[in-house]
Amino acid sequence: MSQFQQKVELIQSEVIAAGIVRLTLSAPDIAAAAVPGQFVMVQTAPGLDPLLRRPFSIHQVSSDGFLQILFKVVGRGTERLAQCRAGEHLSLLGPLGNGFALGESAHACLVGGGMGIAPMLFLASHFLRQSQVAVPPRVILGARNSEELVPLMGDFLDLGFEVLAATDDGSFGYHGLVTDVLKTLNLTSQSTVYSCGPRPMMAAIHHLCQNQHVPCQVSVETVMACGMGACLGCAVPLRAGGYAHACSDGPVFDAGELLWSL
């Protein structure tokens, strides 16, 4: 496994929607090694506060060495990152974790909710590049409202995907949950659902898939200190008892392996 600790240049910082920022970084080594579903740990400030790195899914990579992350400003670390300007350098650790298991499944369905949309773009691009896939994957994206969702959909549309949209307030697309949209699709055990989003959303998707015997992979979020399996801070309760570690065993898991009742 190739992993790197590098200071990389920030090429562009874009405010995609209110409080949602996309950073484009020149990180050829990490970009080349990354697979969809992996993440990077980013140092958000030069000093000792905030102290720990912050984990972000790899949103997209390009063949010319660029790597993007897409995040929402929720606290001190993301605030600092949002203030970084082109030309500054950021310390990155990555690519980290195990990405999505990309099988031969003919019918892939990508479901992203809120910031869980971030890793879905990299995954969608990956399917595009895989010429053997006959049916292009279906993409379901959900968010609170159109202001948040529409800007995030753009890249998927640009890649030629048809996006099934859902918003909590009905201001765009389906008025309701992504699971309701997912239900309308003709899922079979030949399909695979790839999902990332808030825990309640992923729990609902898991139950739906379980009932219909559809394989389902989820990318989970936990607090993380190291991102590399050293601190054991990122415990994820397992159905079989005990814990897995989101950073080194995940962040992508077979939904059936996890304990969802928690």
Partner: protein, 313 residues
Amino acid sequence: MEPVNVKMDELDLRVSIGNLELKNPVMTASGTFGYAREFESYVQLHRLGAVVVKGISLEPRAGNPPPRIFETACGMLNAIGLENVGVDRFISEKMPYLSALGVPVIVNILGDSVEEYRQLAERLAEAPGVAAIEVNISCPNVKKGGVAFGTDPQMAAAVTEAVKQSCQLPVIVKLSPNVTDVTLVAKAVEEAGADAVSLINTLIGMAIDLKSRRPRLANVIGGLSGPAIKPVALRMVYQVAQAVSIPIIGIGGIASAEDAMEFMLAGACAVQVGTASFVNPRACEHVLDGMVTYVREQKLESVRDLIGALRIG
């Protein structure tokens, strides 16, 4: 970014912890460096003075439910709950990789009773490649109502004696800072035969989420580590250095060579780098490189010249 390549052949960075010779004073702190392999992409592991591995118990432990960690001002709280693979799997699965590194491997042990510590020491004494044992006495003694071994000089001495009696390995006792007078525990374990002490383990702390009105850790309380605790750690190392004559290993908030050498001035003959390795996986090498530069610039005969060289008055 290539690691700084410092020529260090001609420099004398050796220190000894009792019988244990280290090629330099920079080691990893238990629980912050996994079983070393996690860092192989980032760190030239053979350069480390020693590797101290995550605390090992007799039986495997699953650890605490999440959330287990929370960031605080210049520090972090953890309540991992001593998750580990247990001594048997440690020896069979982890030791082969570790002992091939060419670096002394120090095994941190923890138990619920004096008997458990004794058995752990016996098992490890048989395992090839273990260079020393570090006894984590910050664990609750279940037979004494859950009071931590490390907060009571007598219980600390009892554990130390049991470990010493059941193995020939150098025994380092790791002291808890959550005590009124750390020198009393240090003296007690010295008398009980400890070859060295290491300090500090984490301070006990807590954080609350105002939104949910719940503790930030499922375990309610946890251990505070990182730069925030460095002043407390340095003070305790200094106090213990006045009280005992066995070697001292300084721990707590060390992230730079300056930090490390402050601990040595206070009386430590070696240091452990903990939380800093999460932020910068190369923190140990960073500390070592800075130390090399300092020793050269100051034209010290050896890094040992720093130990206890604090000027007072």
